[in-house]
Symmetry: C2
Subunit: 150 residues, 2 copies
């Protein structure tokens, strides 16, 4: 059931601690409690440098969900918005909060004159995949990620 008390707004510097806490909460839930190597100072620097933006879902004074995103560039399509992370706190799920956050993030992408929004989803996560397909998303399965960690 939709929670009528949710406010979706852009995050400010003061919200960064709560946002990182949501990332940590999800990592613990995924049984990877030590995975979050990025410190609060890294979040602060990225925010101050304009590298990241975030929307938060707030109920009364609590941050219960967030999207974190940034502008990128497709050589085929031009400017796009990349949704890097998207978390709703465990006890606030199934209240339509994720849907509102996702829609608001899509709107930011349009406001910024992006030609598309992109993100990733784990292949086993059928719930999330369905959520995205219901939003009209195309799910591409033919790409692998390459990475080198320093």
């Amino acid at each position: 059931m939709a929670n009528p008390n949710v406010q979706i707004r852009f995050a400010q510097k003061e919200d960064l601690q709560a946002i990182r806490q949501l990332v940590v909460e999800l990592a613990i839930y995924e049984k990877e409690p030590d995975a979050v190597k990025a410190q609060f100072a890294d979040y602060q620097r990225a925010y101050e440098d304009g590298l990241i933006s975030m929307l938060v879902a707030e109920i009364e004074d609590d941050i219960v969900g967030m999207t974190l995103f940034y502008d990128t560039f497709s050589t085929w399509r031009g400017k796009m918005l990349y949704l890097e992370d998207f978390v709703v706190s465990e006890k606030y799920r199934s209240q339509n909060i994720g849907s509102q956050l996702f829609d608001a993030t899509l709107q930011v992408a349009k406001d910024r004159n992006c030609t598309m929004m992109k993100w990733q989803v784990l292949d086993w996560n059928t719930g999330a995949t369905k959520f995205y397909e219901n939003k009209g998303a195309t799910i591409e399965k033919q790409w692998w990620n390459g990475k080198i960690i320093f």
Copy 2:
């Protein structure tokens, strides 16, 4: 055999036309000649806004290869470099130019204090996948891309 005449350098505004031309060349090679919707002006704007950086491989006065990349942010690892596109012109392949471009891009990621470099590769592209593995990359196969095009 390595081509001894290659210079790797950062791209300037004057190189953007040649860079876009390499993207178009690859799209034609991949039998998608109309896929490059992003116009020269989009490349210019992205460059002027500091959204993208590029390295080019130059032989005499010809741009024969390029990498295009930008800073992004992992909520788990912090600042990272994303290699969006990587092209060596067809007739200049197998001359070690791609390897030099890739290594130089890795060095940019380190110089920018990124914690990792990421990119994508198509699952059927065993040549590229081997190239990346030889560079020490991890190839992740469990992520799907989601996208909504406006």
